[in-house]
């Protein structure tokens, strides 16, 4: 009964795997014990197809992640550069106002008249109208 079961089992379960003739022919003990060792035998046929899908996906994901990292770095760099430029603009504006103040001070009548006196210029005693 047990032998019948053992004999019937391979016929029922493993009949679709004739492509493993070596194991079917040489195995003294058929059926369940061999079944586990027969499963891997069917895998080599499936492997090429899965590898061909996984590898590009992994590569694509890697490229996407790498791209995102690059984009983030670029954004960060741009942001810092923008911040630096804005700071520089503010500094230059401030400097411009400072310079305008200095120009106004140098141009003020009090400064000019003092410099004129130091240079020996004098106010004319008598003025003559030409027309």
């Amino acid at each position: 009964m047990a032998a019948t079961k053992q004999a019937a089992a391979p016929a029922r379960h493993y009949a679709p795997l004739p492509e493993s003739p070596v194991r079917v022919v040489t195995s003294p003990v058929p059926a369940p014990r061999k079944a586990p060792s027969q499963r891997p035998a069917s895998r080599p046929a499936a492997r090429p197809a899965r590898r061909s899908r996984v590898l590009p996906s992994v590569l694509l994901a890697g490229v996407v992640v790498f791209g995102l990292v690059l984009l983030n770095i670029y954004l960060a760099q741009t942001s810092f550069a923008l911040s630096e430029v804005q700071s520089k603009v503010a500094e230059e504006r401030s400097r411009q106002r400072q310079l305008r103040s200095e120009v106004a001070q140098a141009e003020s009548p009090a400064t000019v008249s003092q410099m004129a006196v130091e240079l020996g210029l004098v106010v004319p005693v008598q003025l003559q109208q030409l027309d």
């Binding site: 103040s101 200095e102 009090a110 109208q129």
Partner: protein, 572 residues
């Protein structure tokens, strides 16, 4: 038995898992729904920073666009005492840089506080030195500082600001809101090191800079007026004084000078007296310059004419009081023009008696006495001119010759401008325009000029006033300007003080060229020696008028004032 035990274990595991998930779900519900807003705020507060961007205070510019007041960025030094690791060494290192004593500095940086000012608004070089020291707990923060590049030039007009840049005097005070602008806000997300997160949330509300104010003041004429006042104070010992130079057609004030002056760059060493714009705020009895209004009223009312011959004694009794001329003389026969030119009190009062109180009061009001001129300057005094119902018996006599009522130097200048403009009264103006953040220049609006006397009357009075400077009988020959006809009037009035009169106020006001007035100049000197305006104020008038006319001629030859567009460009 084994199956039952297995079932119990499974059930227990399931129950434990259910309870566990239940706790997690409940907590999630609590965090996500019930306490969501509070936690969101907490999270935002941890990473978001809102910075106030202070608005730049607007500049105050002379008529040519040159800065009289401008704000620049400077640094303030502050300490966080909690971060100061070695107070003694820090104080010793900072003291010479900040020009402070070590003791007070040490006291500040050892306070139990997180923020202490050490020195506000320091120079760029000082800030650089502090930064170079790299002292723990010592920091620099940017602030805005008000600078006055022209120093004391027009300082009482421009005014000054306090430590927080709030206007405290002059136009800085009057136009504080306009100059201040509106602060902006920047919200950014920062990482734990304080760096901005590039793709984080951010929002910017731009600061709106304050408007620039363009004055009507001409820097050259202003400087000359101030220099002339200083010379007057030195020559004749005048305690104080004011000069107003005005374009009678536009009523633009080209100069408004006061002595004593102050330097807004060194506010601490000035006193309140020197910060006052006396030309607008100070009252005095103008004296004989008021006779110009009496003359205009008499001529306009046809109670006299320039050529009318009048018998004038050297004294006259009015309301129980004897009014005298400035010198003793026998009864003279003078024309009304000569009465004004020689500044006869008696002759003027005789005409005033024909006018009557009501009419004299009415014309004084028309010429702007007893009420503010409307000049765009704070704290303008309105003057004191009582209504006729409040006049005493002597009031007609005193008021007609410029005593017993009070006016301001700007009122006197504006009254002469009314005459120079052919009888058109208008508001004097100090503001040429404002330049907003958009760069557009806006001119302030003023009421239309009002005719107060006929042009012919103004012409008659002008001719009389030319005689003041040109004719031998006139009291203002010192005001002559070679090459020009000057119309003007002297005024030497007693100075009111507590309980009576003490000292004199000397005034000379006039305009030139008399046939086509371009400039009005009014000079007021407080208690000069000699006291007579013809020997003091008239001299100062001549100096200022001559300079201003020369300046006007040179500006006529080329563009003095830039147009609105270039002004706006220059200020931005």
């Amino acid at each position: 038995m084994a199956t039952k035990s297995k079932s119990i274990r499974l059930f227990s595991l399931l129950a434990a898992l259910f309870v566990g998930f239940g706790i997690v779900a409940t907590r999630m519900f609590w965090l996500q729904i019930v306490d969501s807003s509070r936690l969101t705020e907490m999270a935002a507060a941890q990473r978001q920073r809102t910075l106030i961007v202070p608005a730049q205070r607007g500049s105050i510019l002379a008529s040519d666009g040159t800065e009289l007041a401008i704000s620049v960025d400077v640094k303030t030094v502050f300490a966080d005492p909690h971060q100061v690791t070695d107070p003694g060494r820090t104080a010793e290192a900072l003291a010479p840089v900040l020009d402070l004593e070590v003791g007070p500095l040490l006291e500040k940086i050892t306070r139990d506080s997180g923020f202490v000012y050490l020195a506000r608004k320091v120079d760029e070089s000082v800030a650089a030195q502090v930064a170079q020291l790299q002292l723990p707990g010592i920091h620099l923060v940017p602030e805005s500082k008000r600078l006055y590049p022209a120093g004391s030039l027009a300082s009482q007009v421009v005014g000054f600001v306090g430590t927080e840049n709030e206007g405290l005097g002059g136009l800085e005070y009057m136009y504080d809101d306009l100059l201040t602008g509106r602060d902006g806000k920047v919200m950014v997300e920062r990482d734990p090191l304080g760096r901005q997160i590039p793709v984080g949330e951010s929002s910017v509300k731009e600061a709106i800079s304050g408007s620039d104010i363009i004055l009507t003041l001409d820097r050259q004429i202003q400087h000359e007026a101030e220099a002339a006042l200083e010379r007057a104070a030195e020559r004749w010992g005048a305690g104080s004084g004011s000069i107003v130079v005005m374009d009678p057609a536009s009523r633009e004030i080209l100069a408004m000078a006061n002595t004593p002056a102050f330097d807004p760059r060194d506010l601490d060493s000035s006193d309140a007296q020197s910060r006052r714009n006396r030309a607008v705020t100070d009252l005095y009895e103008p004296g004989s310059v008021t006779k110009v209004v009496t003359a205009a009223a008499g001529l306009e009312s046809r109670v006299t004419s320039p050529a009318e011959r009048m018998r004038v004694a050297d004294r006259l009794k009015v309301g129980g009081k004897v009014f005298k001329d400035s010198h003793v003389h026998p009864v003279q026969e003078l024309s009304f023009a000569e009465v004004i030119q020689s500044s006869s009190n008696v002759g003027t009062i005789q005409v005033a008696q024909r006018l009557g109180e009501e009419r004299l009061y009415e014309y004084l009001r028309r010429f702007g006495f007893g009420r503010p001129t409307g000049i765009d300057f704070p704290a303008e005094a309105s003057g004191i001119l009582p209504e006729p119902s409040q006049w005493w018996g002597t009031s007609l006599g005193t008021i007609s010759i410029g005593q017993s009522f009070a006016g301001t130097p700007i009122q006197v200048a504006n009254a002469f401008a009314t005459l120079a403009a052919g009888g058109l009264a208008a508001e004097p103006r100090l503001i040429k325009g404002t330049v907003g953040a958009d760069g557009v220049v806006e001119a302030p609006e003023h009421p239309a000029p009002q005719r107060v006397i006929e042009q012919a009357t103004a012409r008659q009075v002008t001719d009389i006033l030319v005689g003041v400077t040109e004719d031998e009988i006139g009291t203002g020959s010192a005001a002559r300007v070679p090459g020009y006809l000057v119309a003007g009037k002297t005024g030497t009035a007693q100075k009111a003080s507590e309980g009576g009169y003490s000292g004199y106020m000397a005034t000379f006001a006039g305009f030139a060229p008399a046939d086509n007035p371009r400039l009005v100049v009014s000079v007021v000197l407080d208690d000069p020696n000699p006291i007579l305006a013809g020997q003091t104020a008239a001299v100062t008038f001549q100096e200022v008028m001559e300079f201003a006319l020369r300046r006007l001629r040179s500006s006529d030859a080329g563009p003095m004032d830039t147009d609105s567009t270039s002004l706006a460009a220059a200020t931005r």
